[in-house]
Symmetry: C2
């Protein structure tokens, strides 16, 4: 039996694309994936649990972790830090479980920098036609506005280049199926599996 390390999957995309919906639908189907638990400096709320909802740390501790490069990504939001602890991710992967992270584009690019061996999935807006129409319809407004929308769209497309896969979120069911296929097929990638086979063969055969 081959003991394989887990893989970090990062689902991201522009705001409003439906990342949360796809992630929830995926986790309803797939109980093997481990959702990445964030770390935060915001106070624990009633009903929440350390290591379940978040890892709760003081601002001082969090900033220490930033300095020690112990976070795959972090951001400040309404006066509190939120981030992805590297150790938790690495220990989960070591144990053979896949880690799944759902995050906005800026965070995903930080993770990519700190953990390039992750698999990065870009969720694309439900319909490209919609995006196009939205931009072109602005033509009734000022030309500047059209140009700004165009630039924003182009920036979004540029960010796509940092990702390994693009999944169009036209239908949640279809998008989930595609993400599941990516998870399954990544485990069949020769670079990952061949090494394991060779190791076993070499260990057994000398």
């Amino acid at each position: 039996m081959i003991k394989e390390k887990g893989i970090l999957f990062v689902l991201s995309g522009p705001s409003g694309v439906g990342k949360g919906t796809v992630r929830k639908a995926l986790f309803e189907k797939d109980t093997e994936l481990k959702y990445s638990i964030s770390m935060t400096t915001r106070p624990i709320r009633s009903g929440e649990q350390e290591g379940m909802d978040y890892f709760y740390r003081s601002k001082q501790e969090f900033e220490q972790m930033i300095r020690n490069n112990k976070l795959l990504e972090y951001a400040e939001y309404v006066g509190n830090y939120y981030g992805t602890p590297r150790d938790y991710v690495e220990e989960t992967l070591e144990s053979g479980k896949d880690v799944f992270l759902e995050i906005e584009v800026q965070g995903a690019l930080q993770v990519k920098e700190n953990f390039p061996e992750g698999v990065f999935i870009f969720l694309f807006p439900p319909s490209l036609d919609e995006l196009k129409n939205r931009i072109i319809n602005r033509g009734t407004e000022t030309e500047d506005l059209v140009r700004n929308r165009l630039l924003a769209a182009k920036e979004e497309i540029e960010m796509m280049d940092a990702y390994d896969y693009v999944v169009v979120n036209d239908e949640v069911e279809t998008a989930v199926k595609k993400v599941q296929s990516i998870v399954r097929s990544e485990h069949c990638k020769r670079e990952r599996v061949a090494k394991q086979y060779k190791k076993i063969l070499e260990a057994e055969l000398g």
Copy 2:
């Protein structure tokens, strides 16, 4: 709507691994994939149809095609040529359909040389333990025999390096599911899809 080119998938692996079984089970489930039709110089048999079972050509025509690099791979078997016609594959891909080719390892390596943009899947023997045991059990025989088995195994592993994916054929159902996942996820690869999106955006937005 995005008009995407098809992808050539090549399923291969050592003889006896169950390539044909996996391919048949796959085609029972997936009617979207187009099976690559081979070309042969052997005479047409009763019940067979040109362009359905094979493309039938004279030896002279076949050798002309070899010289013109019109075959992705070919081999001679009991006095007849068998090969994969490049034009048929390329036209099918152009039409947006995926082509699926099931072939032994030598043929797959030829295809890889002539069509590196294909996706190459290596079907691995049902059980690695079995392979190991087979080799080690020979230890009761001469050391030379053990070494030969070992070399053969190592050669097989070396060939795996030319492939993109490795699927263990432990259970046909599972193997088919993995191949289907590979097909689906390859269509989500950013290198393929992003280009299409960019083209559309550029065409629409100037």
